[in-house]
Amino acid sequence: MVKHEQEESPNRPDNTAFTQQRLPAWQPILSAGIVIPGFVLIGLAFIGVGVGLFITSRDVQVLELDYTGAVATDPCYKCSDPSIKDCKCTMEFHLDTLFRGPVFIYYGLTNYFQNQRKYGISKDDNQLYGDLDTFKSPASECSPYDYDSKSKPIVPCGALANSMFNDTFKLYRMVNGSKKEVPLNGKGIAWWTDQNVKYRNPSGTPLINAFNGTVKPINWPKAAYELDTTDVYNNGFINQDFLVWMRRAALPDFRKLYRRITKDEYQAGLPAGNYSLEISYNYHVLSFKGKKKLVLSNVSWMGGKNDFLGIAYLVVGSLCVFMSIVMLIVYAKFKFPEED
């Protein structure tokens, strides 16, 4: 057989670390000497973080005021009947100490399923982006909240928008027997992207022109273009309260930001004393066994009050330490005698 002296065959595979599988590799050897100290370190770190979180969470002040009016003794009981319109009720409460600022006011609902799939998709994003074509023919997902009984298109359409929370609150501080209103700040409570990117009012001024030939959602007391007539940038689809509502809650018991107390003498917080909360009661929740509440809270670096996270860290950290002790015992029992 004639053999050709081949210098380098063209088919010769590349001699690289990758193709010849010689890339450097490292695999940890999990010996007792590494695992036990590792567990102790991880456990201690977790316990440290857990203690920090738990203390921070404990310092957050929360005040919850249930105003559903389910029981006759409640001040808002009279308003809980759906047939009564424009009902107002007042709740008194007392703060023993300073409620450190900045104070956030939330409204809370329970047994309310904003996470229901059909409910969640029941909106028309194009409409909410200001697309005038969809004002005439809302998306089919909005059904049965797309047309009213006279076949007029509803804007904004859908179950989500239709069920927007519409109770309003006024907070008064009792100073020497007289009521002094606490200024509430409604700016900057919604997501920046919702206000500036996702939602947009239809073009054209005044806003009302765009809504010609449409009707307001059935449950709304006033149309979208009347949500805040004082501020163009808080009206229509980019109204802060609307945006907060449209961002759905993940769980059936939720709270949503309503206002912040940041102005005047309340920057440092709400001083101790008596307060009065005036509620215009429009939203009915008793039909589905829900509850309504108003929540005052301040925040820490880790957010609102949340004891769970700190406790979870503490439990995992202590488990790690415990396991390391168990392993040390096992190791001592079965390893050391061999070395003798």
Binding site: M1, P13, Y119
Partner: protein
């Protein structure tokens, strides 16, 4: 009307499409396929439906298709695009890949089907395409051409009506085989004569056994009774075999296209599926059950939860009118489907994609492996399917071909022993004849004159006692080696590579066989003199006698009979010579894995020669039992030998074959050698490759043995041996290991369903039981389909082991296709 006729057991072929004279038999036309070979799976039209069907047979693909359809039909939480797009991607990529592969097969088929063939039509040789060939056509095949279909041999350019054929690509045997023409058609030597032949052939319908053929040829001559001759396998030239050493032959096509024995030996191309994929499919079903129960439970829970109306339809979330009117059962069913879609990621599409990608990359790592790169071929490993990478680590049985896989299929003369003295030729130096002094190493020297005579006789014996032919050729062929450098190169060609090796070895020891001219064999001896011997008779080799002889007449008028053969067949016939010494040497060589032959001679007196002549001619002329009579004659003539010596030839093992087999053994992998070769050769190789060690106890399950005892007894006896050993070795630490040797005939007897009381499958079980206890098994004389049968047998045994088959020839294809993992070799043999 032909439909019924297709089912008859025999077919009648009209040579040259000439009808027989009236009155012979009714002309029953049968419909035969054309000579087209189809290996492709799809046609242009069937590609899309067939390919899609095959792809969706994978449970995963089908599952995602169902999910996709559900998403299209009902209102679901996720968009149909999320499952449709990846599915579409996977299906398209696979379809493109398979389509491309099939296109390549189409091209290959085309080139095979359109290769030119010479057909005799109207007394002329006409060139036509292979696929146009019909049953009954007379074909002319030239030397080194491959037979286009299965042919009945009519006549050849050689006077004796024989031709030489190599069937390497069919059964892996590299030796040249002799085929015979029917004596009555031998004389039709030109196309005109052949075309005038008026005959019909009756033969059985096609069957895959390569070595079986039964038929009859009826030759009609003018006004004479038709002559009828039987046809056997020695008359049938198989598609895929190659004509050697014969200028041209004429033959008539009997089986064409997909009915040829070669095509019947190919199995259908089924896609290989890895064991992991199979178990993955099983898990898939488990997960599917989990998914369905999950969806059912969730649907039930949903309706339980919405039982109270304030949860079912609170004021803030009313249903549409259509939804309210929908029947609760339909609602529940759509909810169920929606839950299915929601949870469908329990069967992750990403896992399939990841596994596929990983395998794909893994196959590239095999391709890139430098250690699997062959310098000579300039080619690395090639991965045909990436589906089987992970199988490689799970192999329990390795089935390997012998010729060309374990060995290089390249015989080399190693040494010879004359009367107890060992001669080792030096390595060839550019093929030049070396002087006597330098070419022979004398290991021990003994007194001159007497030794000298034996030496001369021995070398002459090897130069004369063979059927090697000298062929002068311009082109350089890979396997044969040139005699002289510079001059037009000549080659030794023989039906056995051993003979070539021996004659070449003699050349290196100073005795060159030049040629056979006018029945005189010419030898160039050590002193550069030409010696001439008249070749009187050749007593051909056969596997029963295991020896061959020649009778020559020297210039001085002496009659000499030279014989060479296996030691077992020579020694009983020895009357004088240094038997003990040679025997010891032969045994030593055999242990080294060399193929040994003994050489002996006998001086014949004039009367003895005449007697032998008489025996031979009588036997050759007999019409009945010719084989048997010849054997008797040989037996009478080949006796009273004087032992000259022995030779050792090596079929060189592939580099590191023994190491490989040893590591495979150590890894607990059972190695089976499946070969078409004869038992002795195969066994020698097995010893050389350390498949059988010296300590290995060999169990034989061969035709020779089953002739003496019934198969039943042999099987039970072997089984008992194995079991007894196992019960003993349970105590001792080093257990004796067993090697089994089985041949094709016995194997088919074992696998044949029997009607005995023991019932069908019983032999099979015993055989499997024996095999299970053997660390190595050698199967010789295997037909390609039998190789596949063995693999199948092991594969379907109760442990369901993973099997790997490795081979190089077309004869291994069916075995490779049958095994879980198949490895084909690029080799010099099969270009």
């Amino acid at each position: 009307c032909a439909g019924e006729e297709n089912w008859v057991d025999s077919r009648t072929v009209y040579i040259g499409h000439k009808e027989p004279p009236p009155g012979a038999e009714a002309y029953i036309p049968q419909r035969y396929p054309d000579n087209r070979i189809v290996s492709s799976k799809y046609t242009f039209w069937s590609f899309i439906p067939k390919n899609l069907f095959e792809q969706f047979r994978r449970i995963a693909n089908f599952y995602f298709l169902v999910i996709f359809l559900v998403q299209l039909i009902i209102d679901t939480p996720t968009s149909p695009v999320t499952s449709g797009l990846p599915l579409f991607f996977v299906i398209t990529v696979t379809a493109i890949k398979q389509g491309y592969e099939d296109w390549l097969r189409h091209k290959a088929d085309c080139s095979i089907n359109e290769c030119p063939v010479d057909v005799v039509q109207q007394e002329k040789v006409v060139r036509t395409q292979s696929n146009k060939l019909r049953v009954g056509d007379i074909v002319m095949v030239r030397e080194d051409e491959t037979f286009p279909c299965d042919l009945i041999f009519l006549s050849s350019s050689r006077d004796d009506g024989t031709c030489y054929v190599t069937t390497t690509s069919l059964d892996g045997e590299s030796s040249h085989k002799t085929y015979y023409a029917v004596p009555d058609t031998m004389a039709f030597k030109t196309e005109q004569e052949v075309d005038s032949l008026h005959a019909t052939i009756e033969c059985e319908q096609p069957q895959p056994d390569l070595y079986k053929f039964v038929g009859r040829i009826n030759i009609y001559k003018d006004k004479e009774e038709p002559v009828s001759r039987t046809l056997g396998a020695e008359n049938l030239l198989l598609r895929g075999a190659t004509l050697k050493n014969t200028q041209h032959i004429f033959a008539v096509a009997v089986y064409t296209g997909m009915e040829t024995k070669m095509a019947l030996n190919y199995q259908s191309k089924s896609q290989k599926r890895s064991a992991v994929e199979k178990s993955m499919n099983a898990f898939l079903i488990v997960y599917l059950c989990i998914l369905i129960s999950k969806a059912v439970i969730n649907t039930v829970l949903k309706y339980a939860w919405q039982w109270s109306p304030d949860r079912d339809e609170p004021w803030y979330n009313h249903r549409t009118e259509i939804e309210r009117q929908r029947h609760v059962v339909i609602r529940a069913f759509t909810d169920f489907l929606a839950f299915m879609v929601l949870f469908n990621y329990i069967i992750p599409v990403s896992m399939y994609v990841t596994v596929e990608m990983q395998k794909f990359l893994g196959s590239y790592f095999i391709t890139w492996d430098e250690e699997m790169f062959d310098e000579e071929l300039g080619q690395g490993a090639q991965v045909n399917t990436s589906d089987l990478n992970e199988e490689l680590g799970q192999v329990e049985y390795v089935f390997t071909d012998k010729t060309g896989t374990l060995t290089e299929n390249n015989m080399e003369f190693i040494e010879c022993c004359v009367d107890g003295n060992v001669y080792i030729p030096h390595a060839i130096c550019n093929g030049q004849i070396l002087s006597a002094a330098s070419s022979i190493d004398m290991i021990d020297s003994s007194p001159g004159g007497y030794r000298r005579e034996y030496e001369d006789l021995f070398f002459r014996a090897l130069c004369l006692c063979h059927t090697v032919q000298v062929k002068e050729e311009e082109t350089v062929d890979g396997i044969k080696r040139g005699i002289h450098q510079g001059r037009p190169t000549s080659f030794y060609i023989s039906s056995s590579p051993d003979e070539v090796a021996l004659v070449e070895g003699m050349k290196r020891l100073g005795y060159t066989y030049l040629r056979l001219k006018d029945n005189y064999m010419e030898i160039l001896n050590k002193d550069d003199e030409i010696e001439r011997f008249e070749l009187l008779h050749v007593l051909n080799f056969d596997s029963v006698r295991r020896r061959m002889s020649v009778i020559v007449k020297s210039v001085s008028g002496e009659y000499l009979l030279f014989c060479k053969g296996a030691d077992s067949s020579i020694f009983p016939r020895i009357v004088s010579g240094k038997v003990e010494q040679v025997k010891a040497h032969v045994e030593q060589n055999a242990v080294e894995g060399l193929r040994t032959l003994c050489v002996a001679y006998r001086r014949l007196s004039e009367s003895e020669y005449q007697e032998a002549c008489h025996y031979l001619t009588e036997a050759k002329l007999s019409l009945q039992d010719r084989e048997q009579r010849l054997a008797q004659a040989y037996d009478v003539i080949e006796r009273d030998f004087v032992l000259l010596g022995a030779t050792a030839v090596e079929d060189r093992l592939q580099e590191k074959a023994a190491d490989t087999i040893e590591s495979l053994h150590k890894a607990g992998i059972k190695v089976w050698v499946l070969t078409g070769d004869k038992m002795e050769t195969a066994a020698a190789t097995c010893y050389a490759s350390k498949l059988f060690r010296r300590s290995t106890q060999i169990l034989e399950l061969t035709k020779k043995r089953t002739k003496e005892q019934s198969l039943h007894d042999v099987l039970f006896e072997l089984n008992r041996t194995v079991l007894r050993q196992r019960s003993i070795s349970g105590l001792s630490v080093d257990c004796l290991d067993f090697g089994l040797i089985i041949d094709g005939a016995t194997l088919s007897a074992v696998l044949k369903p029997t009607q005995e009381v023991s019932g069908h499958g019983n032999y099979r079980e015993i055989f499997l039981e024996i095999c299970r206890n053997c660390s190595a098994v050698l199967c010789c004389r295997m037909a390609p389909l039998q190789k596949a049968q063995i693999v199948k047998l092991i594969k379907s045994s109760k442990e369901h082991p993973i099997t790997l088959a490795i081979g190089d020839g077309a004869n291994d294809v069916s075995m490779i296709l049958e095994a879980h993992v198949g490895i084909g070799e690029f080799n010099c043999i099969l270009k």
